[in-house]
């Protein structure tokens, strides 16, 4: 009896291993294909075999040296600068708003929360044209600060997750600190923030990653000003019909270079994500 139970358990384990292995291969293979073919020496867009025949670094070298049509290093720098600034502003906004809604009690708090939630539900692109004209009126169109504004101005509306986290920190801490004479300002910086590392890291990383992935707003704001593109839009431009035959392999190489830092950051963030989000997340 016990033997057969064990046997059936080993069989089911083997089945699971096989399923996981097969699906794992399916899940990862496009990315492996991406990396392999970014080193491919021969052929254009497509080749009629799966593995490249010759490997070379040419695609990467071309990406960084041939800057006439596509100035990849410049785009990379642009994106980095935009990401750093919008990350600072977004993180501050999100933390300030979520802390206020979670820990401070004041009149019309609920109204603010509800308005914030409703505003967050409009489809994002609805406002993009108005945003464009607004930035045009401020003489900011086709500049980098415009993008920083686009990515970080509305960040405060994304307070839900970190508010959920702050809600889980016991209020007794605040009360104890207040009795000891701390102001609310001091409580925020000296007590709550140091306790909120998971959500802090999560917020910083998500707002840093955002600008690397957007290709919609940047297309509207930058128009034809190629030297101010970000990597996402630039890479998308490479896949346009008129360029793709010549630039497909550079596109692959460029994608690998963006994907590496983002992947590392994300894998780092994963743990904080689970820690921070599940703490304030679904409570059943």
């Amino acid at each position: 009896m016990i033997k057969s139970y064990k046997l059936s358990r080993t069989i089911s384990d083997i089945v699971i291993y096989v399923i996981l292995a097969v699906l794992g291969v399916i899940w990862v293979s496009p990315l492996v294909w991406l990396v392999l073919h970014s080193f491919r020496a021969e052929g254009g867009i497509t080749v009629d075999y799966v593995f490249p025949k010759q490997y070379t670094l040419d695609n990467y070298i071309k990406l960084f040296t041939e800057k006439d049509t596509f100035d990849y290093p410049r785009w990379f720098l642009n994106t980095f600068v935009i990401a750093v600034f919008s990350c600072i502003i977004s993180t501050l906004s999100i933390l300030m708003v979520s802390y206020t809604f979670s820990r401070l009690r004041f009149k019309s708090r609920k109204t603010f929360i509800n308005i914030g939630m409703v505003l967050g539900m409009f489809p994002g692109f609805m406002t993009m044209i108005a945003l464009y004209y607004l930035l045009k009126a401020m003489n900011l169109v086709q500049t980098l600060p415009a993008l920083v504004i686009c990515y970080s101005a509305g960040a405060g509306l994304g307070f839900a997750i970190s508010k959920g986290f702050f809600d889980t920190i016991p209020r007794a801490l605040d009360e104890a600190a207040t009795i000891d004479g701390a102001t609310r300002n001091q409580i925020f910086w000296k007590i709550i923030l140091p306790m909120s590392k998971p959500i802090l890291v999560y917020t910083i990383l998500t707002s840093f990653i955002g600008p690397w992935c957007d290709f919609i707003l940047v297309r509207i704001i930058m128009g034809d000003k190629k030297e101010n593109y970000t990597v996402a839009l630039g890479l998308q431009k490479m896949t346009d019909r008129e360029f793709i035959t010549n630039y497909f392999k550079q596109f692959l190489a460029g994608s690998v270079i963006v994907a590496i830092p983002i992947t590392i950051l994300f894998l780092k963030m994963q743990n904080y994500y689970v820690e921070g989000v599940t703490a304030g997340g679904v409570k059943g």
Binding site: D13, L20, V28, S93, M121, M126, N185, F188, C213
Partner: protein, 499 residues
């Protein structure tokens, strides 16, 4: 009823309980939803009325200095020792007057007509060349008009606060108390009024870059701003509900209404399939990875999760290339002796199935991440008793895991349903909405959902008014769904649970 009590019921009772539960909750949620909207507006009106009442009674009861500050803002504070605060109020008034005189009034006055003077060309008498004379720009009038209205609302708020502050100062003096100095007020902003300090900057940013554009676009839905009425060349005008009528008016052939109906149908189908395929497959995978006897958990999880880490525009553009007729997927199919398939440029059905399958590749890892924690929390004794009763793993999944998860994660499901209605990236990057063989669709392909249509209408076709109307409709659906679940789920009620 707790989950364990529920599991103890007989199948018939379970079904009865489920159905009655659903219907008994639904009216409550709907009712709460509409009463919340009603309450919001009634509160707003009440708030305005008390504001006006207070405004009047303070004028009647206040002394001379308070009365003067109804005209010269900050005067009341000024004469009662609050020089700094008085200066702030006065500054606000001066700035507002300068703004209105130099800029605001000219746009506000034309807000009702959105401009009357059209741009025209005239022959210049001296050079003999045609010269363009620019008339009114409806778009700028609307944008700056909305801006001026918002600024005016804020200013009225400041103005009423000024009268209140002046009156309060007077009362405090009468009671023999001292008014706070500027320094004390600033210290107060760090403590008991800390929320003002914390919210000031984010609210300002949101007001300028989210609320202002949003109000502007909502206004656009009630105008005829499209490619035939495109400023600065042409004027556009208010048309009331005409745009919405166009979207709903069923007519034969390639109308906007036909397209809207078709895309709305596909959007719903897409959202249902995308949500549930990801949910179920992701959960099964999470269960497999988290099974006790399975080793190398971190490896398996990383294998799946790594696909989220790669930016979506990279992985989806890549997928788009791989799924082309001469792409690598068809190369592999030919190697193993199958015929190549037109995945994304063939028929409507293959394209739609392809999108849903690829979306699983994108979305399943998210479910794995998010459900792992909850799966761990399912009471182990449920499984134990099931095993004693001889239930196979499949039976266990459908009888315990799935119902438990549905029980706990309904809010999450609705959230991802709403997310999928707005899932722009997958559709746009994978197929750009194609194939576009169906000529009865207005500016849309056969895999376009409403938001990608909205995007195309705006960018490729300049149909701003239709786009805005579609956006508003999508918003209404999403907001209703979200608010109902928000009210149904406990997390909104449990806000103070940990305090």
């Amino acid at each position: 009823m707790t989950f364990i009590e529920y599991k103890a019921l007989s199948p018939a009772d379970k079904a009865k309980y489920k159905i009655s539960e659903f219907f008994s909750r639904l009216p409550g949620a709907l009712g709460k939803f509409f009463s919340a909207i009603g309450k919001f507006f009634s509160n707003l009106i009440k708030w305005i009325i008390t504001g006006i009442k207070g405004y009047g009674s303070r004028f009647a009861n206040g002394d001379m200095a308070t009365k003067v500050s109804y005209l010269i803002m900050g005067f009341g504070n000024f004469t009662r020792g609050q020089v700094g605060k008085g200066l702030v109020f006065l500054g606000a008034e001066v700035l507002y007057i300068i703004y209105m005189a130099s800029f605001g009034i000219q746009y506000l006055s034309r807000f009702g007509t959105l401009g009357t003077q059209e741009t025209y060309k005239v022959k210049d008498a001296t050079t003999g060349r045609m010269v363009t004379v620019f008339g009114d720009n409806s778009m700028l009038i609307l944008l700056y008009g909305v801006m001026t209205i918002l600024i005016t609302i804020v200013f009225i708020g400041v103005y009423v606060a000024n009268t209140k502050s002046a009156y309060d100062c007077e009362q405090r003096i009468k009671e023999g108390k001292r008014n706070m100095t500027l320094k004390e007020e600033i210290a107060d902003l760090m403590d008991s009024k800390f929320h003002v300090t914390m919210l000031a900057l984010p609210v300002l940013l949101i007001a300028i870059f989210t609320i202002l554009p949003l109000v502007f676009m909502i206004c656009i839905a009630f105008t005829n701003y499209n490619k035939e009425h495109n400023p600065p060349g042409k004027l556009f005008d208010w048309v009331g509900l005409e745009t919405f009528r166009e979207v709903f008016k069923m007519s034969e052939g390639a109308g906007k209404a036909h397209t809207f109906a078709e895309l709305a149908k596909w959007t719903i189908i897409w959202a249902i399939f995308a949500t549930f395929s990801n949910y179920i497959v992701g959960m099964i995978l999470a269960l497999m990875i988290n099974k006790k006897s399975i080793k190398l958990k971190a490896l398996w999880r990383t294998l799946f999760v790594i696909t989220i880490a790669v930016p979506q525009f990279v992985s989806l553009l890549l997928m788009n290339q791989m799924l082309q007729y001469n792409g690598v997927v068809n190369v592999i199919l030919q190697h193993i002796g199958l015929n190549p398939v037109h995945f994304i440029d063939g028929t409507r059905l293959t394209a739609r199935i392809t999108i849903i399958v690829i979306n699983m590749w994108v979305g399943v890892p998210y479910t794995i991440l998010q459900t792992s924690g909850i799966l761990m929390n399912i009471p182990e004794d449920l499984y134990e008793s099931a095993r004693i009763d001889g239930a196979t793993p499949v039976v266990q999944f459908f009888e315990i895991t799935l119902p438990y998860m549905l029980f706990v994660t309904t809010p999450y499901l609705i959230q991802s349903f709403v997310g999928n209605i707005n899932n722009f990236n997958v559709i746009y990057l994978l197929t750009k909405g194609g194939p576009t063989k169906d000529a009865t669709l207005y500016q849309a392909g056969e895999t376009d959902i409403l938001v990608t249509w909205l995007f195309k209408l705006t960018l490729d076709n300049n149909d701003y008014n239709t786009a805005a109307a579609v956006g508003i409709l999508v918003f209404i659906v999403c907001a209703t769904l979200s608010l109902i679940t928000f009210n149904l789920s406990k997390s909104s009620r449990n806000e103070e649970e940990f305090s």
